[in-house]
Symmetry: C2
Subunit: 416 residues, 2 copies
């Protein structure tokens, strides 16, 4: 039996999932597109209906202010409403809506219960967590935490030359608001299968994986696929394909019983990409992740050795462009213990997990005490229209988030 509050959450989740909905049951809400704008406006209407105020900062982060104590500092709860192309309806959006419902429940509770909040709550819908239309990912939280200048983000263009500033202005979700926060709380679907495999309903994130992400440009020489003999070819597609295969071989080689290595290439663009033309250029992104810094360093060195070998074998030149390096890092230990106590009190099964994916909390944990929670993902499927989390798992997460938010707002983790 679900409560009226739980029914309200599920009803709002269904409404939210209709924005940018795809035929396959997912959503396509890439950052600052019309569909993202629609979702942001719907969310604004939802929280304004509960009497909360909405503000935007200079890079489109959307802040919902929930005031308990006029003038008090803020505890932030955040995630993102943007999605991958043909993404799932849970990734990010679940966490933002869960934050709103936790705040609504506390808003109600503090009117009747004898507790003294020390903080206000701000729910943050971070701009462009996904990083598909505009690179890099976690853009809004990177600016908020001072890792990337706002001016650089605003001038970043999508593949059609539209800047972030233009895109945000076109959907009307940009402003000049700013705010400091005292602690950060995020809930997200796991996007892996460890909770499901272990039969747990909550994951407490203890650390991030280390991740090295590289943009490579493979340079070849445009030629005729029929007429040009092999000896005369400098085939950028062959070089880039070899790099994709090498990355997988490295993951297989360096993974041990103790430490996993994951390598990926998500974006791979061939120029001029015509049936009878040997490619002159391929742009691709390769990333390597591992739980262990030593293993990561060894795998990374092997990748760069392989790059040099491929340059020889395929007669191409491989240019290394931008890189993004995230060291493996722990979440706040006191926050982890507090989350465990809260789950224990609510009678939820839980365990600690490491996150391989980046989240806005990856940025936030570097500036304030941060707690990151996971709920299960069916079969670990994510960035896919078939992404799924059961209603009961979502509801357990909202209950936990609400209890933790109450603890943070009443000073259990940090004090003003």
């Amino acid at each position: 039996m679900s409560t009226p509050q739980q029914q309200a959450f599920l009803a709002d989740f269904r409404s939210m999932s209709s924005f940018g909905a795809t035929a396959g049951g997912g959503v396509d809400r890439q950052a600052a597109t019309w569909a993202d704008g629609q979702t942001r406006n719907w969310f604004r209407g939802l929280v304004e209906g509960h009497g909360f105020e909405v503000r935007y900062d200079q890079v489109g982060n959307q802040f919902t202010l929930v005031e308990f104590v006029p003038g008090a500092p803020y505890i932030a709860i955040g995630s993102h409403l943007d999605s991958q192309p043909l993404g799932g309806r849970f990734d990010g959006a679940y966490g933002v809506l869960a934050g709103a419902h936790a705040a609504m429940r506390l808003h109600e509770a503090f009117r009747v219960q004898d507790e003294t909040p020390l903080y206000n709550i701000v729910i943050i819908n971070w701009f462009n967590e996904e990083g598909c239309r505009f690179k890099p990912s976690m853009m809004g939280s990177s600016v908020f935490t001072g890792k990337i200048p706002a001016a650089q983000v605003l001038a970043t263009t999508d593949p059609h030359g539209v800047t972030v500033r233009e895109a945000l202005e076109s959907i009307g979700t940009i402003g000049d608001f700013s705010l400091d926060v005292a602690a950060y709380l995020e809930i997200h679907i796991e996007q892996g299968r460890s909770l499901e495999d272990d039969g747990l309903s909550i994951g407490l994130v203890e650390s991030t994986w280390g991740a090295n992400k590289y943009e490579f440009v493979v340079h070849g020489e445009q030629a005729h696929t029929g007429a040009t003999v092999i000896a005369d070819r400098s085939d950028a597609l062959l070089g880039a394909s070899s790099l994709v295969v090498a990355a997988r071989e490295i993951a297989n080689h360096f993974t041990t019983a103790e430490h996993m290595v994951i390598t990926s290439c998500g974006e791979f663009t061939v120029f001029p990409n015509s049936p009878v033309v040997v490619a002159n250029r391929v742009n691709l992104l390769v990333d390597i992740r591992s739980t262990d810094p030593t293993v990561l360093a060894a795998a990374d060195a092997e990748l760069h050795r392989r790059v040099a070998q491929i340059e020889q074998w395929a007669a191409v030149r491989i240019e290394r462009g931008a890189e993004h390096i995230w060291a493996a890092k722990d979440y706040d230990a006191a926050g982890l213990l507090l989350a465990a106590a809260s789950a224990e009190k609510l009678g939820l099964t839980y365990g600690t997990v490491r996150t391989r994916a980046g989240h806005d909390s990856t940025n936030m944990k570097d500036i304030v005490p941060t707690i990151m929670l996971f709920v299960p993902s069916a079969e670990g499927i994510s960035h896919n229209e078939r992404e799924f989390t059961a209603d009961n798992d979502m509801l357990a997460g909202v209950d936990l988030l609400t209890d933790l938010a109450r603890r943070l707002v009443t000073g259990e983790l940090v004090r003003p």
Copy 2:
């Protein structure tokens, strides 16, 4: 010292090269684009200025009628004005303009010389030889020779969903003209380096290579590049990249001192192609070519064995879509001897060559006696803005084409 006729050819060639000109010295005139339409209209103006009539057939092949004997059958000289994206200014366009100038010279010559033409000449600018915007290549000549139905071609769409019919109507180069021809003559740049390496100015094409072209679709499962463990991945990009590498390994393995094998992948498109998403699908084209049918068959069988291995290794499904098979075939032997005699008479150095690239003459040789001539390409560079053929080589080709056209028109190869 060049003659006024030669200077006129070079001047027209420079004018023609300004249509769709790119910053890198090449042209971008994909089939039935605005730039292709501009070039076709310019060519029409050029030949109409010499008193010739222009007609279009139902799939946009452009016919320039040069009448010597009212009611007589036609000898055709053809090539194509369309180009690759960022293609060279010689590929195809040289042959069409050379045909026009050969016809102009004969038109002049027959007024003053005592020779009796038995045929008229038609210069054909074939629609969409390149096959980049609309697939397959050699589209116009495939319809003309009855290999593909016109209705199928007219309904073929480009990546934006525009049909061939719509594109041809938008540039106004479609009609209902039809014509039978008695023999076919084509001159083209070599797009290889054998003439240059051997110090020859003319190549007489004795045969085509055999070519097997396959459209593959690699199916994977969309997933998160960070969160999804390797064991759970079905990465379409890994499967497709493995296929590209396998194709090159096959070329290296099967090439011997006697027979060359060439493999290529020109088009390779990744879906959804987002930085943090494991690809769910890659569409790619793979072709294998060889001078020897037995070697080609062995290499082809190996490719399909490798496809099955890659399906296992990368945990993907590889679907084989459309295929285009061209058997190695000889050009008309009498035509080859006639071309040799003509080159001999003009004092040009020449040798026989095989063409690896497809040409409209590949289609035409299956229905009428066909002669295919090559002029040198600097360093064999083609389908590239840096494609280059020297003025003297172009002019020698026009001289040879003119002499051969004269011989054909006066009945030296076929007689009405």
